[in-house]
Symmetry: C2
Subunit: 328 residues, 2 copies
């Protein structure tokens, strides 16, 4: 595997398209309501890494060309993604997002709920106005899966434990579904064949899973200054993720049970967090999770093999590499 | 105008369809997530007056017949309406809805946000799966308008005053847009002509406006035991609605200004509420608002004139009457 690349490098073949997308999106987002304009401008100013539009454009390029339809698709997925971030901050009661105050922290929950709804409907309306029925099919399914995945996570968080299968169902719904949708939307926008479309959907699903596993691994390994949140945060929040699930599978059942109790019993303190981390280290939970992410990564890259060589293809390979090697 | 009828009487020509709709909706709403199932069952159990599906079916009947498409349309609007109710309860921090605890009160805001998103996407997916592109066009526009209308209301609530024009823009977006959509969806489901479709859309808009005006009037006139909330509640919540706007237009400007200050200054106490109510009574705010609602009602009923006589037509006339005469 090549050394980690940055998202900026990966998106280079579509950097012009990403710049044009900013202009296009700003044009789509003016409203007659000052409060809404203020909030939307606030959101657009802190645009993230634009990983999802990058995937739309790269997938479109891979399938033959970046047309106007790709801009519509990229706008849709970015708006839907932003809508879910705004709503997630209410769900998580987060005060910050991308280093600045979250919408719910500045404008309260009620504005955040409504702005999220507005962005959701706006994302769908862009497809409606452009008669992009296929985009609607894949994206509204992703919206359903994202909310259902989060609800399953909440439901499971109240239960004693969580198995590997449920973990994968949750991350597939809440994270991989939209990433998969980005790749499929890109393929649709380039009028790709059914085989190409399905290969890219599957590629997106696999790197989406690997992305979330890496995220959960970094919570065990990353220094707090890099990730912007304390290491062991998931344990503190009583979340059971793949490293702990794998460690429990490898450990003697009684030890595993005791460790789950430390996480799910009373709110874990610093000593609990350290003990759980030591347990996960001892039973190689991080290594096994990383191995799993790499398997998904390899499968994803293999799906790209039938496509002709191009800068788009190289970037999609780099994207998959990045997902499993990133340190932030 | 005929004496007030009940919604139950009005919906009689489509009561079989409403019963079948219940079965159809329950079939659509089973999921693999126990928490979601529990919440959805909780919501479906307290089904409301089903005013919106009634409008879909009556409009369809008026335009020639109630087909399978009408069920899809009725399910969509009912799910979208329910989604906005679930989200509104977060917006309003309501602890109750239809006499039982609200979702946010039982399961907290985060579940309410996600269940609302789920219902929204599910409402749209039903159209997607049935290739009902026209339904998607009108309903996603309504979703956008509902969130934008609520945001405009929040924005205006922070400002000193609100004029008649803004009041009508807010209630058109937040209330009338979905009611109008119900009638248009019914027309579409019956493959109505463009003229019929546009007449029903406009009928829905007008009765939607009249409905909200009546709601705001009842806040000034209704006994608390009937409406289930204390009279003068809007004043207490510092909301300026049509009766006060009209009273201010009729009163000497200095008196109007002083009264607005009583509402928008410090949180109004019981004495403030009583004084504002007396002011509105003196300057005939309730009468003028009622007169306005009746004008809208008459326009709405006139739009039905070109349609052939039928039980559906009579019920739509009754619906318009009901909207401006209801006491709860």
């Amino acid at each position: 595997m090549t050394p980690p690349t940055s998202l900026k490098q990966i998106s280079r073949p579509v950097s012009d398209e990403l710049d044009q997308l900013d202009v296009y999106m700003r044009g789509q987002m003016t409203t007659q309501t000052a409060l809404l304009d203020t909030v939307v401008r606030y959101i657009l100013r802190q645009r993230g890494k634009r990983a999802r539009p990058t995937l739309v454009f790269l997938s479109a390029g891979l399938c033959g060309g970046i047309t106007d339809r790709a801009y519509i698709g990229a706008t849709m997925v970015e708006l839907l993604h932003t809508a879910t971030l705004v709503h997630d901050d209410i769900v998580d009661q987060s005060e910050e997002r991308r280093g600045v105050a979250s919408i719910n922290a500045v404008w309260k929950n009620k504005v955040a709920v409504l702005v999220g709804d507005y962005l959701l409907s706006k994302g769908l309306l862009i497809a409606v106005h452009n008669n992009e029925f296929d985009f609607l099919k894949v994206t509204s399914e992703a919206v359903r899966r994202m909310s259902e995945g989060e609800l399953l996570q909440i439901q499971k968080s109240r239960q004693k434990s969580i198995d590997e299968e449920t973990y994968f169902r949750i991350i597939s719904d809440k994270t991989a579904s939209l990433i998969s949708t980005c790749c499929e939307v890109g393929a649709i926008s380039a009028s790709a064949s059914d085989e190409q479309r399905s290969a890219l959907r599957e590629y997106g699903e696999l790197i989406g899973l690997a992305f979330q596993i890496r995220d959960d691994v970094l919570d065990y390994t990353s220094r707090s200054s890099i990730l912007g949140k304390p290491v062991g945060n998931d344990i503190r929040e009583q979340k059971i993720t793949l490293p702990l699930i794998y460690a429990c599978q490898a450990a003697p059942p009684a030890d595993a049970k005791a460790m789950i109790k430390r996480v799910k019993g009373r709110k874990p303190g610093t000593k609990d967090v350290l003990d759980v981390m030591r347990f996960v280290e001892r039973y190689r939970g991080v290594e096994e999770s990383t191995q799993k992410a790499r398997e998904l990564h390899e499968k994803a890259v293999r799906l790209l093999a039938p496509f002709p060589e191009s800068t788009y293809k190289s970037s999609l390979v780099d994207f998959a590499n990045f997902v499993v090697t990133r340190t932030t």
